[in-house]
């Protein structure tokens, strides 16, 4: 087996609370591999730890436990010098481009900064390379003497992507790259991300709460709940037949437009809110909200375990034996057309 581009191995991150409260375990033992050229989608709700995981992968944060390997090299505790070299190959695109681009820097300087920081001159010179990057992201001929505030959100996200591409990375961690954009602009940025990947073979770790975007772009999807991965599967499999009850609830909450249009599906409504991560439930972290939880779920932590031969993983004591049928019904229901009978009202 080839070495994965990015490997997270039992990664943990806790944040101490002020006034000596219990530490919040934002990421509570996550193992994931990302192959070169692959797109791994990471979905989950506010507070599930997905953005913390992105920052750990980028080593913007130091993990409290576990290991992070980039291209086989252990970067778990790498210092600034080692990280500088790694970051040439690992870049980030964030949600709000206006916040992630320095408002006082001209676009030309923003795009030249990667070369300056890494003390390198691209072949043909920085100016030519910047013009080439801008053309590549569809911004040929813009006035690069202007400041970020003079561009639209969609243009700024293109500039952020151009900056991420400047040093020809192997991996881009994209944290909600389309969420702050108007709907008619989102499709443009999705197309650009796909175009970048086709042309340069870049791998993406794509973090988003938008199942439409992830469902279209990702090769595999990992579903995160309260600091752990509860399900990991090839995109088609997950959308058609999710096995973890939380993944099912997430999918059922966001049906496709077709299903919404004919108003044919019924949702699984989860009771309550995400528990406080500083006081995570015992056993399976999802058990207090799970419609099918048993006694064992309260006691024993389910491991993320491989099931079958199609690269699927699930962390549920009862899956897939007792969950697959409902998963398939939800998959059909949220695509529209068929009436979905299964419904668990727990509110």
């Amino acid at each position: 087996m080839t070495v994965p581009l990015l490997a997270l191995d039992g990664v943990r991150k806790s944040f101490a609370q002020r006034r000596g409260g219990a530490a919040v375990q934002a990421v509570a033992g996550v193992s994931l591999n990302l192959a070169a050229g692959e797109t791994l989608g990471l979905v989950g709700e506010t507070g599930c730890g997905k953005s913390t995981l992105a920052r750990l992968a980028l080593r913007l944060l130091e993990p409290s436990g576990g290991r992070i390997l980039f291209d086989g090299q252990d970067i778990t505790t790498a210092g600034p010098a080692a990280l500088l070299a790694i970051r040439r190959r690992m870049q980030a695109v964030f949600q709000d481009p206006l916040a992630s681009l320095n408002p006082r820097m001209r676009i030309a300087d923003i795009l030249a900064e990667p070369f300056r920081v890494h003390r390198t001159t691209p072949r043909g010179g920085a100016a030519a390379r910047i013009a080439e990057l801008l053309a590549f992201v569809g911004l040929e001929g813009i006035d690069t003497r202007r400041l970020p505030a003079q561009f639209s959100g969609g243009q700024l996200q293109r500039i952020a992507i151009a900056r991420a591409l400047a040093l020809e990375p192997a991996l881009i961690v994209a944290d909600e790259p389309t969420s702050a954009l108007d709907p008619s602009v989102q499709a443009q940025i999705v197309n650009l991300l796909l175009h970048v990947q086709r042309a340069r073979g870049i791998a993406y770790l794509l973090i988003s709460h938008d199942l439409e975007v992830v469902g279209h772009v990702a090769d595999r999807i990992a579903v995160m709940y309260l600091g752990v991965i509860v399900e990991l599967a090839p995109t088609g499999h997950l959308l058609r037949e999710a096995w973890h009850p939380y993944a099912q609830a997430l999918l059922s909450a966001a049906p496709t437009l077709a299903a919404r249009r004919d108003r044919s599906w019924q949702r699984i409504l989860l009771g309550g809110d995400l528990p406080n991560p500083a006081d995570a439930p015992s056993g399976c972290r999802f058990h207090p909200r799970c419609p099918i939880a048993r006694e064992a779920c309260r006691r024993e932590v389910p491991e993320l375990r491989p099931v079958g031969s199609q690269g699927r993983y699930v962390a549920c004591h009862l899956a897939p034996a007792e969950t697959a049928v409902l998963g398939a019904a939800i998959g059909r229901g949220r695509r529209g057309g068929a009436r979905m009978q299964a419904r668990e009202g727990t509110t």
Binding site: A187, N191, E212, R263, D273
Partner: protein, 329 residues
């Protein structure tokens, strides 16, 4: 008609050259319907909602007419508007944390609405506030009533804000992006609640959003706004299934990415919605429109009827198929 808007124009300042953020809007809302105004940033959708309640930001100048139950609301004195706000017209904002008073318990804020409208004394108002929290399915309402806004979750806060909007038994609810700040599973809960309230209380709901999913789910009729004007107005089922305006079709494509073949290019429209001060001549959508012709650049299309739909487009889509994004022009 519970709400009638005629030739609504809103701009900032009186200067003759000041562009209209909302530029000649006409629509009617029927009692008991969910009427959705959909648009992107700069479309004027939120200003339209604010103008109904006389809550336009400082410096905004509005003309035209907004009649609620036959009564003119536009540019009326506070003495006329104040009893309506939170009275017969309830309001729900996007971000309850900034819309609520951070130093008052949730129940107290609901009780305040009842007292301010002279509907209850102190003790009665406190009792009613707990009932209202129960009405929006907040578990353990007596305890939540005593909590401060920051102490409860985003979903609970949005429910509490809806309870507040319901306090005086309104006939109409104006909700501006009520689910935008929420996670999908919580969003689902709030949408179910709005739908239930409409059904059980015969409420009229004016919902302002940029989320096609919300529209598909709840709307009876839709007003699609682009750059301050009506793009398309009509029954939700028709607009969602067979959009006539290329802009509506683009919005639908954006909301159906996962229905396209995996990793295939999406039929995206180019560019971005123009800022108020830089709107193009002719049809305001023409620089982004995949099928713009010469006259689209020159003449703004008038609103005209096409079946059940009112439409502003010189070349409407005849078979606008929203269900198959892969087959776009």
């Amino acid at each position: 008609m519970i709400l009638s808007v005629r030739d609504l124009r809103i701009r900032f300042g009186h200067a003759a050259a000041a562009p209209f953020a909302v530029d000649g809007l006409d629509f009617d809302v029927s009692a008991g319907e969910i009427f959705v105004i959909i648009g992107e940033s700069g479309s004027g959708k939120s200003l339209t909602g604010l103008s109904v309640l006389g809550l336009l930001p400082q410096g905004a100048v509005a003309s035209g007419s907004i009649r609620f139950d036959g009564q003119e609301l536009l540019n009326q004195p506070e003495a006329v508007l104040r009893p309506l706000r939170g009275g017969r017209i309830g309001v729900v904002y996007q971000d309850p944390l900034s819309a609520m008073n951070p130093v008052w318990p949730v129940g107290e804020q609901i009780a305040e609405v009842l007292r301010a409208h002279g509907l209850a004394g102190r003790r009665e108002a406190a009792r009613r506030s707990v009932e209202l929290l129960e009405r929006v399915h907040i578990p353990d309402a007596p305890r939540i009533a005593l909590a401060y806004p920051h102490e409860i979750s985003g979903g609970m806060r949005q429910r509490a804000m809806i309870a507040m909007a319901l306090a005086c038994g309104p006939r109409m609810l104006i909700a501006d992006e009520p689910t935008t700040a929420l996670d999908v599973t919580i969003k689902a809960q709030i949408l179910e609640l709005l739908s239930e309230l409409r059904r059980e209380l015969a409420l009229t709901v004016v919902l302002i959003t940029h989320d096609m999913g919300v529209v598909a789910e709840l709307a009876d009729r839709i007003l699609v706004m682009y750059a301050g004007k009506v793009a398309e107005l009509g029954p939700a089922a028709q607009i969602m299934n067979r959009p006539s305006h290329p802009y509506t079709q683009a919005l639908l494509f954006s909301a159906t990415m996962s229905e396209a073949p995996a990793k295939a290019d999406l039929p995206a429209i180019r560019g971005t919605a123009p800022p108020i001060e830089a709107r193009p001549a002719g049809c305001r959508f023409h620089p982004r429109c995949p099928q713009a012709a010469a006259d689209c650049r020159e003449a703004a299309p008038n609103l005209r009827r096409l079946g059940d739909v009112l439409l502003a487009c010189h070349y409407p889509l005849l078979n606008g198929d929203a269900a198959r994004p892969g087959c776009a022009p």
